[in-house]
Symmetry: C2
Subunit: 454 residues, 2 copies
């Protein structure tokens, strides 16, 4: 109990330290915040050293990667790699923040600040867990490598090249990531899945330039109408995707389906959170199934012709859509890309030219539940929260997760402490104070549990 | 032949005068050109006085209306009202102009300048025809009222109120408008029809704010996809509109259909002009029928979600389309508005809110071919061009044309001297030198022909 009591005694200082990290505007997407982003890396490097880790900064083509290591548990002890990111999303629109994004403010049990939950708070809690072990016992039960990057919000382009170039140094028995959410307050959650991604741009070209819709309308195919026909053909009346072969590799009896009924879905909270008039989607599946275990075809953007005020009578030369598919096991992004492109071509109306461009791809991921890592996580979370964790799917994509497994050969654990409605990429981002504090304990208990069998 | 020889002798001066008018940047849509727009009105007022007309400037809530009158032909002579507009379209993008828009330049038999063909050149040629009569004979064969407005490019909002308030003064036997095009060089053309307009904005609202397309995608209806479905439902596989009742008032045996086969359609020129890969539209109709006698449903603009560079994974809260119907006799804009709104509501997918707003409407028009006005126009155009004029439909809308007929009770003649490819609302607008010069003669001959029976 020495660790737990150290944590409890030092919470006010831990909050003050987190505030200091949150005050650094490390917006990786913005050139004018380049120095700030580096400052966050240096802050973490210095802090890791101060609590007794070996820390090092590694330059990349973009923002630096920080490693913090403790390898004195011995060759027989497992090695845990903890991944997190110190960069944050842009903060616009600023006027929608109740308090400024880089002036942390605690209200109603929430730490409001850009980066509080995504991901500085969730990364920093691991540092505090490590500090607690070292301060209370002088050592850690396992070897630890903290891998902290500054480009997660801009695509993590330099992360996997760094990992691949340092596989020996980063060799580990488990990867732990805290960058996801719990299903509800007080309900510790283990991430069971991530969807993959295949992102496209569709360009439809008709006339060589915008035409007068009176003088020419009716006699040439309208690219915007043609694009609408293509998009309308993506789903049948049951919102089931019509792209041939799209579901071929999807497991209809996915065991996460049962889990959607066990975690308890609160439809009212979901509607409040999304502001949608109602839930809706593929027939035959509940809301969580639609997010956790079913692939999607979603329009992310549309642009054509005149979109300003009033009535300009233009027949557009061009129409564009951004469309992305979320993928589930065992769909392969490259295969889906081919199926999608073939399908769009097959349904493209005559009289226009259609071009499909692939922008982005990422594999789906499914946790390999069971084994020492998941057993340890279950015990640690139960000890910290007083309740057994639930398994929950996640509709978003973290393409580096399957990559970590592929390159390092170690299982990944998603042990997130966010909460629904946390505004991760929006104004008034917050992290629950309770989850920050219990997260420190959960992380500390996890290090113990990974050493000791149940 | 005195008139014709006066015109021929004075052509260099006429061109110089037109250049002076074209140099005035009377862009009615732009507040910074308000004084320039008034300057064009004053220029016309002064010029009309100089050639022997009574001219007056009439203030409106917007740009002024100029009247120029000559009423000495006596009570038994017919009165002709000639309508034109002195305002011009904006000129952006400036970099696409070969020579600056307000520095007229003659190249390859074309007068390049903003407003050359739309409508300053076509308005000014009537002034020159009137001047030729007055200079050569000391009088005009008919009474003439020139009605010149400065708001045609911004919707002519103040025109009809002015006409309605001055019906006695504007009472006439014929209305002549030169603001349309000939079907080909050397082929004088009488406008046989105009399409009407019903312009809408469709707004589809789903979630209360943009959502993460991973975390929520699949479980709420995507407004952009819903909008695409609505638009895709506008036409069947033959590009025939599906809106119930849409064609109820359309005459399937329209006698303009035969005319489309008589004027000679040049598909290659059409494709070159539009830059379209091919013609296309409602099955069972040729290209000119599709433009002249068939109504349309066209998308004019689309906007939803993220439309910048790269792949933002947003599930949009909102999607918008601008959609307009071109109407043909005897479709009524208000009836079509009701049918359209009802139809959109009937096909709107569940799970989103759909709102249809009416932006603009205008009635279709069909020339009442025959009678003294059309007989006179036929003779005048044949005399000026050495060829009988053809009748041609026009796909665009000039909502004031049916309004003139309604308020003044006089037939309208569309005697246009533009040409295909004239770039009326685009960079490098031009008017044919030949048409400007022959247009002066045609107008002069028309005044004669309206007095004298064939």
């Amino acid at each position: 109990m020495a660790i737990q009591s150290f944590v409890e005694k030092n919470l006010p200082r831990f909050h003050a330290e987190l505030d200091a990290l949150l005050r650094i505007p490390s917006i990786s997407a913005r050139r004018e915040h380049q120095a700030d982003t580096r400052a966050a890396a240096e802050w973490l490097h210095d802090h890791a050293r101060a609590i007794g880790l070996e820390a090092s900064i590694h330059e990349t083509k973009g923002h630096p990667i920080v490693l913090a290591e403790w390898r004195k548990a011995g060759p027989d002890a497992p090695t845990v790699l903890i991944y997190g990111h110190y960069d944050v999303q842009p903060v616009e629109p600023l006027e929608l923040w109740t308090t400024p994004p880089f002036e942390p403010s605690i209200r109603d049990g929430r730490i409001y600040a850009r980066g509080s939950v995504d991901d500085k708070g969730q990364l920093f809690l691991h540092l505090k867990a490590i500090e607690a072990h070292l301060a209370a016992t002088g050592s850690l039960p396992v070897n630890v490598v903290l891998l902290m990057e500054g480009e997660e919000e801009v695509g993590s382009e330099n992360l996997m090249p760094f990992v691949e170039a340092n596989t020996e140094r980063l060799k580990c028995d488990a990867v732990v990531i805290s960058d996801t959410t719990m299903v509800a307050p007080g309900v510790p959650t283990i991430g069971a899945s991530l969807r993959g991604l295949a992102y496209f741009e569709i360009h439809v070209d008709g006339p060589g330039h915008d035409l007068h819709s009176g003088s020419y309308g009716g006699a040439v195919i309208n690219p915007a109408t043609a694009l609408a026909r293509i998009i309308a053909s993506f789903h049948d009346e049951n919102w089931h995707a019509r792209i041939p072969g799209f579901y071929d590799d999807v497991d209809p009896a996915d065991d996460l389906r049962d889990q959607t009924r066990r975690v308890g879905f609160d439809e009212n909270r979901f509607l409040e959170e999304t502001g949608s008039p109602e839930t809706g989607g593929e027939a035959g599946f509940n809301t969580l199934e639609r997010i956790w275990v079913r692939p999607t075809v979603e329009v992310n953007g549309l642009l054509s012709g005149y979109t300003g005020e009033g009535s300009k009578t233009v027949l557009p030369a061009h129409a564009m859509a951004k469309v992305s598919c979320r993928l589930v096991p065992h769909q392969d992004p490259e295969k889906i890309q081919t199926l999608f492109i073939d399908y769009v071509r097959s349904v493209a109306p005559a009289g226009v030219r259609v071009d499909v461009r692939v922008l982005h791809g990422g594999k789906p991921w499914r946790a390999k539940i069971g084994g020492p890592l998941y057993d340890a996580a279950g015990r640690a979370l139960e000890k910290a929260f007083g309740k057994k964790p639930v398994l929950a799917g996640e509709g978003g994509s973290i393409p580096i997760v399957p990559e970590f497994e592929r390159v390092l050969g170690a299982p990944v654990l998603l042990m997130g402490f966010g909460l629904p409605g946390e505004n991760a990429h929006a104004p008034d981002e917050w992290m629950s104070v309770e989850n920050f504090e219990k997260g420190i304990l959960a992380s500390a208990f996890l290090l113990d549990a990974l050493r000791k069998k149940a």
